[in-house]
Symmetry: C2
């Protein structure tokens, strides 16, 4: 048998235009009669369609479930992947491993394992045999079909000690808490903006675990009602409300919550525009600003820091980091109260 | 005498709207009868108007120099700063220090020193007494007037051993080479995208100085004619042409120039859109991608790295870092050939 190793990023399946990666491609190859030795074939159980995409499909179909079904089949037929042509977005899938390429046999994965894909459907080769049911309330589509994960494609085995929906709620933001776990050092003064949201809560927990007796974690929340929740779960030393889009006023509020000092690390988890300066000003010179918010504007951050002469390192939040799924699921196992809050809020 | 310390970021001079920083403000206070103890007053010699702004002014005035002059005076009268209301951009100034606030007296600066501001005119309080001459070819406006630098406002003393225009050409991109100098470690394999441009050349020089005998610097250029220039000046170990907007093909080219290996550090200096994946793919897991290009899209970088499962740290290029002006000017002193190239190209 010849070992056939394909591009680890999947460019071998791009049909048009040539030379691009699968995500920007207009059409990719979903013929699974050939599975390369560094690909994984999965029997798909369900698609979790990206919220922006599903809303667009629903509106275009006037809510008619038959029309939504037809449109999904049409998109996958044309593109070889479930990428909404209007929104450009995808989603993720859940499925059971059907075949593992020979070159990937050393992975901690076996045929039959139930996994969630952690790369977007917008770049994942997919073939739908039939749509079994559409759950409009949770943007989920049960299907019979198959998908391919490339060598670079990340996934998580679904744990047996928690419900699927709890695991998915946490995995959805796995990048942020895992990055926080890797960044926070003993003694650090950490500010978490958007501490009351899903990724903010998880980041707070990691920060508290790691700052040690001399560090300090300040959580900034939008709603005052989240303050007792954060404090009650011991997710920060102090929680404050404050609007990061008003940087000067915001700086005073968060410094007051930190004994008048600036922060070593600022983690922005709030998906709101114009929070760049609110994240930069509270950071000390030589400190680190970590933007997990997708509403971050590159130019505003770069020119803004220069404009105030702040020598801070600004990091683009990468949705992936090694072991991100394991780190994030572990948080819910370690902290019963946090798990309960997630079950109440996000299931 | 009472010491009057104002906001180090200049928010005390914001007239409207209240609560914002000087850059987004519509009007700031340019009454210099009061100079705070942490401000520096400068007698301005010339404004270097940002190129986008000057082009807009010229076009709106149909090239009429009297109309350009009137418009500049009107903008500064209304806003208290030279921020073009259409482009939002500013520029920088050159001037002589007139007064140093008591709280800043320990700085290495004295009255009469000739400096260039390294923060944007779009946030700098400015008063123009009269416009003496407009040099349309170099976007420069000689004036009689004054400006304020806030405590956080960065500047550079103009050196006596090089011409003003050479110093300004280098200072214009001072952030990039200074960041490169701080990031590159012995043994690093470094890729510089846009190595033939102004910031790319300076980054190459710093990288070559620092990688040591076991490191490697690969310069990517747009024009093949730049290859012998880079090699002749010993600015990299190998120079290659290649289009970073075609990431898969680009990956092959730059890896070939690096013995088939990925890079520890990728520095993107090319102001072209859609180079995010071209910068991310050649970087090894655990490596660092430094985006100095203002054409970088935050979301494309964040989601792109996740999509290919790359655990790389991506840094937003900060135009300021400690000692950036000194580091950059020093390069031209150290390297006679590089200085000559800059004099030929950028003066």
């Amino acid at each position: 048998m010849t070992v056939r190793i394909a591009c680890k990023y999947g460019s071998h399946r791009v049909l048009k235009p040539k030379g691009v990666l699968p995500q920007p491609a207009l059409q990719i190859d979903n013929d699974f009669s050939t599975v390369y030795d560094n690909e994984i074939l999965v029997d798909v159980i369900a698609l979790n369609i990206d919220s922006a995409s599903f809303t667009q499909l629903e509106e275009a179909a006037g809510g008619d479930i038959k029309k939504i079904e037809a449109k999904i089949l049409e998109i996958v037929e044309q593109r070889g992947k479930m990428q909404n042509p209007i929104t450009g977005s995808g989603g993720m899938f859940i499925g059971k491993v059907a075949k593992i390429g020979a070159a990937l046999k050393d992975r901690d994965l076996k045929v039959g394992d139930k996994i969630a894909s952690l790369v977007s459907l917008s770049l994942t080769p997919l073939k739908i045999k039939k749509i079994k049911k559409i759950h409009q309330d949770i943007d989920r589509v049960e299907i019979e079909g198959q998908a391919i994960l490339f060598e670079s494609g990340i996934y998580a085995k679904l744990p047996e000690d928690m419900t699927e929906s709890l695991a998915l709620a946490a995995l959805d933001v796995a990048g942020a808490p895992a990055q926080a776990a890797k960044l926070v050092r003993p003694g650090d003064r950490v500010l978490i903006i958007g501490a009351g949201g899903k990724s903010g809560l998880l980041c707070c927990y990691e920060a508290m675990k790691r700052v040690g007796p001399t560090g300090r974690v300040v959580g900034n929340v939008h709603h005052a009602k989240d303050i007792p929740i954060l404090m009650g779960l011991n997710l920060c030393h102090e929680a404050v409300t404050g609007d990061a889009t008003k940087p000067v006023e915001f700086l005073d509020i968060v410094k007051n919550a930190n004994g008048g000092k600036e922060f070593d690390l600022v983690i922005n988890c709030v998906n709101v525009s114009n929070c760049e300066m609110g994240s930069i000003l509270p950071c000390r010179d030589g400190g680190l600003v970590y933007f997990f918010s997708m509403a971050t504007n590159f130019t505003k951050a770069a020119l803004g820091a220069e404009g105030v002469g702040k020598d801070v390192t600004m990091i683009v939040g990468n949705g992936y980091t090694k072991d991100h799924a394991e780190i994030t699921l572990w948080e819910l196992r370690e902290n019963e109260k946090l798990r309960k809050l997630f079950e109440e809020r996000y299931m």
